[in-house]
Subunit: 371 residues, 2 copies
């Protein structure tokens, strides 16, 4: 009988919940470390309910598990360092350090030769006029760390606006990014295991509103063979450069060029990602299973698509079961709805885009699915 | 926001585990009532660890949940009666009483006009010679209650052998069944919800060895349009007659007749069933999800097949992950292997029987899959 490790997960939200639901059939049980006593993942994992600076609780967590991963990249560095000294943590320290920081991730991508939005670090010595001159207008001011779902960022239309915004964000390290005239937003979801094998899901096309993901479609309708090939090479090079273990998500813009559509890197997420939720029903091996596989030392598996998949986030509200059309899977996160809060998602899988569209259309008036 | 009930499950084995894994995405959390402290379902449910005659613990369990179901039909009657007085129990008392008893279930099937093996209750007044004369030889002696996986039964070749066996089983109510010259064993898995809607999976073909299910294939290769139509009508009539809520499994023999293959009812299981495990990967809505849906008051969903599915039980042993071929899903139950103990299963789903066969063949030398 093979001995399966116990997996520790930092964070206990819906991503941790879906990781644990994927882990259990693999023979892997989970512990979560999460300060919220009502965290969704408590339903399918042992819950260590403590703050991320409680080193006694962190020690007990490290003692209870064999390997540690995380569901969010903004986990405090001191917490991860403490745990990494005790148990293996995957994805590793280098990937986490870079993906936590919008400046470092853009520098890393640039060094590998990939296009990003124009960017400049806003050091105190740099005037707003010079920063604006460097990246152009409109621009987006972002905190280097801790941003998500559109939080910690602001669109900038003038030097004066940047001056005012910098005063508002005092005490934060900031980056100014130039605007990318994109036609589509896509994500690359790929995984690398401890044997160096890399698998990748087809490009996913994403639709955001108010900075929050609303809809993901896989394979991306905007994709081409050339874009898939680019995505393949890019994810392979980046995962290898990080000696990465687990799922890495690369959010990209698609821009039109005279040579056809091209990928421009927006940001990395060193974890399972909202734009990969469709993979539970839409492929033979979900992003959650592949992440669990990679971080626990099992081989990742090439996902086989089951058709075209569309995921709709349920934000701030969720429909009654009876309102969800037949053929649409519902995932509820056991969270109390609040405006802007992701409380669940719907997934449609169908043989062709046209079949999907009919079902998606039938969902777009449901509570929570406003796109 | 819809309010989801809390589901209580009597029993905490792999069936309860897979029920809980299906319940959580529906927004339904589970409690299990199970005396074994190491029960598989404890990983994804609140565990009430007590014996089935501990009425203080049963009261606390009833208080904690909104609706109760069970993963095995041999749950003590007093326990169910106690709980049913406090919270709704599904499937209901009538179905449970009949399905617990091999005599009552055969009488029930016969009354609805369906064929069963010839059978006779072995009252003390009935001589072994008369019993044998009634059903023929060879025959199978079975306890009326508490049998599973070939336990509580014995093949009988002579009146003398029956006499000896009856002495062995003294204190048990017994039934003698005639031999059915079957060509195949199949199961009908169907569900009815509280609105009266009935859904059914395609006929499943089962292969047993030593009284334990080894392999299930869906749709059943032996099936015909006529058999599916029979199965459809049979399950609809039986579920309606029971006013059944939940998954009901009807194990049948297929016998050859001059009019073509015909179904003969072997036994009922008022619950999710080992021969339906393939439905997790093999269909859009698994037997576990449909059972949870039905018993918690949601509508059942017509399962859409994803291809041909084959399930192989892992019995007494389980393979390393690296030995499982790509394209084969593994489910481990977190149980310590013992000879004859089900510790997991494998599922293959492929577009056609021929693709399945290649993968199934590749699995048949793995530890635990001996067929």
């Amino acid at each position: 009988m093979p001995t399966q490790p116990i997996l520790g997960i930092l964070g206990g939200g819906q991503l941790a919940q879906m990781l644990a639901l994927a882990a259990i059939p693999l023979g892997i049980s989970c512990h979560i470390y999460e300060p919220d006593p009502h965290a969704p993942a408590r339903l399918c994992a042992v819950h260590h309910c403590a703050t991320y600076d409680d080193f006694t609780a962190l020690q007990a967590f490290a003692d209870a598990v064999d390997v540690i991963t995380y569901e969010f990249e903004n986990v405090p560095v001191a917490c991860v360092a403490f745990l990494a000294a005790r148990k293996p943590v995957a994805p590793g320290a280098m990937a986490l350090r870079i993906c936590q920081d919008r400046l470092l991730e853009k520098e890393f991508a640039t060094q590998l030769g990939y296009a990003t939005a124009p960017f400049i670090a806003l050091s105190d010595a740099l005037s707003s006029a010079d920063a604006v001159a460097a990246v152009g207008l409109p621009a987006i001011l972002k905190t280097r760390r801790m941003g998500y779902d559109g939080k910690g960022q602001q669109t900038i239309h003038s030097t004066a606006e940047l001056d005012a915004a910098r005063a508002h964000y005092i005490g934060h390290e900031l980056i100014l990014e130039g605007y990318v005239p994109f036609t589509y937003e896509v994500s690359i979801i790929a995984a690398r295991d401890q044997f160096g094998t890399i698998i990748r899901y087809p490009l996913v096309q994403n639709m955001h509103r108010d900075g929050i993901l609303r809809r993901s479609t896989a394979p991306a309708p905007c994709s081409t063979a050339a874009l898939e090939a680019n995505a393949h090479l890019m994810s392979s090079r980046i995962l290898s450069a990080f000696a990465y273990v687990g799922i890495l998500t690369i959010e990209c813009f698609v821009i039109d060029t005279p040579h056809g559509p091209t990928l421009v890197i927006n940001e990395f997420a060193p974890r399972v990602h909202n734009s990969g939720h469709w993979s539970i029903e839409g492929s033979s091996t979900s992003q959650f299973e592949n992440h669990v596989r990679a971080v626990t030392g099992l081989a990742v598996r090439e996902p086989i698509m089951r058709g075209v998949a569309v995921m709709l986030n349920l934000i701030g509200n969720e429909p009654e079961d009876s309102a969800v059309p037949a053929g649409v899977a519902i995932h509820r996160y056991h969270k109390t709805p609040r405006p802007g809060r992701k409380v669940g998602h719907l997934t449609v899988v169908a043989p062709h885009n046209s079949d999907c569209s009919v079902l998606v259309e039938a969902c777009t008036n449901l509570p929570g699915t406003y796109v």
